[in-house]
């Protein structure tokens, strides 16, 4: 990992910082917002922006260090994109039914 060029290290650092800030904002929103329907929106920032930025950084490091594209981290992103709306829909239906 120390043989990365400077521009790649800067891009990876930027992606990691964006992922951390987005996930922290999402989790703070989960803690701070007032009703359940508002809180439903907040953690999706971590699911989408956080996970995508981290996976993009992983792919970039793997492609530059091992000199071949490695894409199996995107399996996690595919899984999150497919499964997060299912949980959200079921939770929403449950909240509407029970309130």
């Amino acid at each position: 990992m120390s043989q990365l060029p400077l521009w790649a290290a800067l891009i990876v650092a930027l992606l990691l910082a964006v992922a951390g800030i987005a996930t922290l904002i999402g989790s703070l929103g989960l803690l701070r917002l007032h009703s359940f329907y508002e809180r439903m929106h907040a953690p999706t920032m971590g699911t989408t922006l956080g996970a995508f930025c981290v996976v993009l950084a992983c792919t970039l490091v793997a492609a530059l260090v091992q000199h071949r594209p490695i894409v199996h981290e995107w399996l996690i992103c595919l899984l999150l994109v497919l499964t997060a709306p299912v949980t959200a829909i079921v939770l929403m239906q449950s909240a509407i039914r029970r309130s």
Binding site: I21, M40, P43, V86
Partner: protein
């Protein structure tokens, strides 16, 4: 220089993820409704998965990726089963 930048960014990202984990744990303990607790559980597993991915980036070990994939799979199964239980009263309907 490069290693310093990367280590700083990785430490910052890990700190943010751990703080987010703490916020979600507070919501899990405090949540007024059961749905809030399930949503907090969802956030907890996403944050833990991101921590494992960043650790895998730091130590360049492939094992972290497999653990993160398993956490994503089982976290989805767990939170959907809990939400389905709240919605219908049973998880698997005959």
């Amino acid at each position: 220089m490069n290693q310093l930048i990367l280590d700083g960014a990785i430490g910052f990202a890990l700190l943010c993820f751990v703080l987010g984990l703490g916020c979600a744990v507070l919501r899990l303990l405090r949540g007024p409704a059961a749905e809030d607790r399930i949503l907090a559980l969802d956030t907890i597993y996403i944050n833990g998965m991101l921590i494992l991915l960043v650790l895998g980036l730091r130590f360049e070990a492939g094992l972290y990726f497999d653990v993160a994939l398993l956490i994503a799979l089982f976290g989805f199964a767990g939170s959907t089963a809990l939400a389905k239980f709240l919605l219908r009263g049973e998880v698997i309907e005959p």
